[in-house]
């Protein structure tokens, strides 16, 4: 029996929201999916091919690497280079 897909919210900001045409994407992922896997899904969306090769990603408000795994209900965010201040 296959395990149920897990729901994950992905938030997009600034230029990345502009490139993909969305500020939020809801994904259903296979259990054990990594942050790198989430990024691959986004790259496959229209406009996603223009995301830069290296991306900053946050999971539940903290930056994580591609190898971090994603759990049900996690909030993932793609962060363009910061320009506050």
């Amino acid at each position: 029996m296959t395990q149920a897909a897990i729901p994950v919210q992905v938030h997009l900001f600034a230029r990345y929201a502009e490139l993909l045409g969305h500020e939020r994407v809801d994904l259903q992922l296979a259990p054990g999916t990594t942050v790198g896997g989430v990024v691959s899904r986004l790259r496959a969306m229209p406009g996603g091919d223009r995301l830069p090769a290296r991306l900053l990603v946050a999971r539940n408000l903290e930056q994580v690497g591609d190898e971090a795994t994603v759990s049900a209900g996690d909030e993932i965010a793609l962060l363009p280079p910061m320009s506050g201040g």
């Binding site: 600034a14 230029r15 280079p81 320009s83 506050g84 201040g85």
Partner: protein
């Protein structure tokens, strides 16, 4: 008081949060909207933030400064549409002596610029717009989406 605000920043309010009779040194930093960037005339700009993470990261940075130096820190960043001359960010640090106040103030603004998820979109005198991106050649990336 929260880190992000959509209202004008008042430095006096931050000073009140950090001042105390045993803190004889107060250092402040104000980041103000400049009228030019990379040789182009800036009309105004807009800051957007990843609100919950910006709040968490702002609090973490203030906490780091307060544990590295014997100081109290207040820091605020504005979001929304800002005009030239408006304060975008303010830091106030109070300690017993000036060395720790200056060092902690510098630490907070440098870490904020590096780590807090806030993005600046500039609108120029000719009506075009760009995302500020310190990693891009020329420091900006033109806005391609629909004008807001």
């Amino acid at each position: 008081m929260g880190f992000l605000t959509d209202a004008p920043i008042r430095l006096e309010a931050l000073l009140r949060e950090v001042e105390a009779p045993d803190r004889g040194a107060v250092a402040t930093f104000l980041g103000v909207v400049r009228d030019h960037h990379q040789g182009r005339a800036v009309r105004d700009l807009e800051y957007t933030a990843y609100g919950p993470m910006a709040e968490a990261e702002g609090a973490r940075i203030a906490g780091e400064a307060e544990s590295r130096w014997p100081v109290r820190v207040a820091v605020r960043h504005r979001t929304g549409r800002l005009a030239v001359g408006d304060a975008a960010v303010a830091v106030a640090v109070a300690g017993a002596h000036r060395a720790e106040a200056f060092e902690a103030c510098r630490y907070v603004i440098e870490e904020l610029k590096r780590r807090v998820p806030i993005w600046k979109r500039e609108r120029y005198a000719d009506g075009t717009e760009a995302w500020v991106d310190p990693t891009a050649a020329g420091g900006v990336v033109p806005v391609e989406g629909r004008a807001r």
